[in-house]
């Protein structure tokens, strides 16, 4: 026990005396969270538009006002000529142009039908689709309110509610994802690097010939990073809550317990990597390429798993982050309890045990 304590103390010295480790452990997670939080967006804000109003009557002015006061759009220019549309798109700033036909208001009242064209810059298709659907939503809403007796071209209008994320805030999406990513990366990468560093510096040779048992070495390596990662997870949830307004509807204790489980899994994975990698460089590459990219791409962090090709859907089952992300989303956003996430939890426990067994088994008591 005394040996283990002294080992853990030594490990903390390593961490706190290496500025790079401190950077990776404490600043990168926060920076990543803030960067992901502001960059990845599925909502629109301040989209620049132009309007080519050929009617300039009461109705089109009202619709224009309504669109501009929604907060999503900024009017860049009123166009006077049909040819201006193309040139303004070429400039790149304007993402959408709204074209009203002449006598828009009259036709709407007399014929019950008027034409309006929405043109969007689809070089960013995601943005274009969002802008179009926001605009048509606003217009339909207005027309219906002003002329309740009118029959809209679309008789059936689905009313959409975005459950659990009513405002479609992407922060809700990425906070659990970033949490999984950061914890995975820090835990697995830092442990694997710290063990391979001992191999590289030759201190492993001394540790091996000491009476320390492999399990003591492993626990001594894992425990400090477990504590620091839990602190990290805590900070991520706090930032998510206070900076991005992501709620924690479910039990905070359960969330933290699940987080500890996931971290332990990642740490054991890190030890497994260190038994395979011969140098710090190799350990870092394996952690980065084998863990980070699939975690981003295949875990449902950014791209929904349901939209992936069948093969990748199958592959995503072996991504631990996939389970963790759905657990965190369930607890934070839906407020569900263990009853609804026990399957994912069981998978994570299984993976943890698997990696513990594997790394204890593969941990070499000799140099070969």
């Amino acid at each position: 026990m005394k040996q283990l304590k002294s080992f853990i103390q030594k490990e903390f010295y390593h961490i706190f005396r290496d500025p790079r480790t401190i950077m990776v452990l404490f600043f990168i997670p926060i920076a990543q969270l803030l960067i992901f939080g502001t960059v990845i967006k599925n909502e629109i804000q301040d989209v620049h538009i132009a309007i080519y109003d050929q009617a300039k009557d009461e109705t089109t002015l009202k619709i224009t006002n309504k669109i501009l006061s929604s907060g999503y759009f900024i009017l860049d220019k009123n166009l006077e000529n049909i040819n201006d549309i193309e040139s303004i798109f070429r400039k790149g700033k304007v993402k959408e142009v709204i074209v009203f036909e002449s006598n828009f208001g009259d036709k709407l009242i007399k014929e019950g039908k008027a034409n309006l064209q929405l043109i969007a810059d689809a070089s960013d298709p995601n943005m274009a689709r969002l802008a179009i659907s926001y605009t048509s939503g606003i217009i339909n809403d207005y027309v219906k309110k002003m002329h309740p007796n009118l029959q809209m071209p679309l008789q059936i209008e689905p009313e959409i509610r975005m459950y659990f994320n009513e405002e479609m805030k992407s922060a809700y999406m990425f906070v659990p994802g970033v949490m999984a990513l950061i914890l995975m990366l820090i835990s697995a990468m830092m442990t694997s690097i710290s063990i391979t560093r001992e191999k590289e510096l030759g201190t492993m040779e001394i540790l091996l010939i000491s009476p320390l048992r492999p399990s003591q070495i492993i626990v001594g390596k894992v425990l400090p990073y477990l504590l620091l990662s839990v602190a990290n997870a805590f900070v991520i949830v706090l930032i998510g809550h206070f900076v991005f307004g992501v709620p924690v509807l479910g039990s905070f204790v359960l969330l933290m317990l699940e987080t500890i489980l996931f971290i332990t899994m990642a740490l054991c994975l890190g030890i497994f990597i260190s038994t395979v990698a011969k140098s710090q460089m190799a350990a870092m590459f394996i952690s980065m390429i084998v863990l980070m990219l699939p975690t981003i791409l295949l875990s449902g962090f950014i791209y929904p798993i349901e939209n992936m090709p069948k093969v990748l859907q199958v592959v995503s089952h072996i991504m631990p982050a996939r389970y963790f992300i759905s657990i965190v989303r369930a607890i934070m956003l839906k407020g569900t309890g263990l009853l609804f996430v026990w399957k994912e939890t069981a998978v994570l426990i299984g993976m943890t045990l698997f990696f513990i067994a594997l790394s204890v088994n593969k941990f070499k008591i000799r140099l070969e």
Binding site: K2, S6, F7, Y13, H14, T203, I206, I365
Partner: protein, 346 residues
């Protein structure tokens, strides 16, 4: 039990003699295609200061790692204090102190933290075994708050030795402890080893430096995984049958070239300021060589017969004999090839 290669009767009387502390029997080890050790056998007595002498790549580190239970031998067996290195590796790890070839302490921990860490890991404290390390540690104690990475080479080595000794080992294994250390520290280090030997610790030390060999009680000469000889340093040189002539002149390089073209030359190697010359037989006279060199317009010529050193023995042993008498043009300076003497005969 004793291997025939070890001439026990020839070794000088030693204190505490008779009890084998390290027994190595027919150990072989290969890495892929390269055979690092071939049927090595030797015995180190209790309380002995035993040297493994050989160039880089001779297999010294491999042998030590097998003894330290860090590697498994392909065949053969080895015992440390009657404990088998394969079966009883856990027990061995308690009784052996080990200093690997390169500095293997934590560079970002201070002197004191390193020592404390290793003491605790080995289940002891600095205070408990302070007596043993006092003579070594007191020299670095003024710097105990300094990070190990910021110590000088000599101090690092003292710290490493202190850490290896902190659990009061019966056997101390040191892998090239003086490589890359200045001459003064080397001398000090060997004095420390001598005083540890006085305290009854059996020491196995490897070194590529031949001058250190004479400081050991007995040495084993190893080359390319093969043991060439085991004996006391003085006996090894006494047994050397050949006459060595030491030659010096102003122009070192031309001197070597000329000596090699001397018809009766067998081997010519540079040894620092001098060239060691061995003739095809011991009939070569000093005057003969002197005359030959004077004719070749060398200046400040010194030619004298000397007692062979360990290095001479080593050089001659590692050469496949008999040497070809011609084809000397491809021979290289010894300094350049660092004992890799076989190349000289290509």
């Amino acid at each position: 039990m004793k291997n025939e290669q070890i001439k026990v009767s020839n070794s000088p009387p030693l204190e505490g003699l008779g009890e084998a502390m390290i027994e190595i029997k027919n150990i072989s080890k290969s890495y892929n295609d390269i055979q690092a050790l071939k049927e090595i056998s030797l015995t180190v007595e209790k309380g002995e200061l035993f040297g493994l002498i050989g160039p880089d790549g001779a297999g010294k580190t491999t042998l030590m790692r097998i003894l330290m239970t860090l590697l498994l031998p392909d065949s053969g067996e080895a015992k440390m204090d009657n404990l088998d290195v394969v079966k009883n590796f856990k027990k061995i790890r308690h009784i052996v102190g080990y200093m690997p070839g390169r500095f293997s302490l934590y560079q970002d921990l201070s002197v004191e933290e390193n020592l404390n860490f290793f003491a605790t890991v080995f289940g002891t404290t600095i205070e408990e075994n302070y007596d043993l390390i006092r003579d070594i540690y007191y020299q670095i104690e003024p710097f105990k708050t300094r990070r190990a990475g910021k110590l000088s080479g000599g101090m690092k080595q003292k710290l490493a030795l202190s850490c290896a000794l902190i659990h009061k080992p019966k056997i101390l294994i040191l892998d090239e402890p003086t490589t890359g250390v200045d001459a003064v520290s080397r001398k000090e280090f060997w004095e420390m080893l001598k005083s540890l030997q006085q305290k009854g610790i059996t020491i196995l030390v490897s070194t590529p430096y031949m001058d250190e060999a004479s400081l050991c009680d007995r040495v084993a000469l190893i080359q390319k995984g093969v043991m060439l000889d085991v004996d006391s340093p003085s006996r090894i040189t006494e047994k050397f049958p050949r006459k060595i002539i030491q030659v010096h002149s102003e122009e070192m390089f031309r001197l070597i070239q000329d000596l090699r073209s001397f018809p009766k030359a067998e081997s010519v190697f540079a040894f620092g300021q001098f060239v060691h010359f061995t003739g095809i037989d011991d009939e070569v006279e000093i005057t003969e060589l002197d005359k030959f060199l004077t004719n070749r317009k060398h200046t400040n010529i010194i030619v004298e017969e000397i007692h062979p050193g360990i290095e001479d023995v080593f050089m001659s042993m590692s050469l496949p004999c008999p040497l070809p008498k011609r084809g000397t043009e491809k021979r290289l300076l010894r300094k350049e090839v660092k004992y890799n003497a076989r190349q000289t005969t290509k």
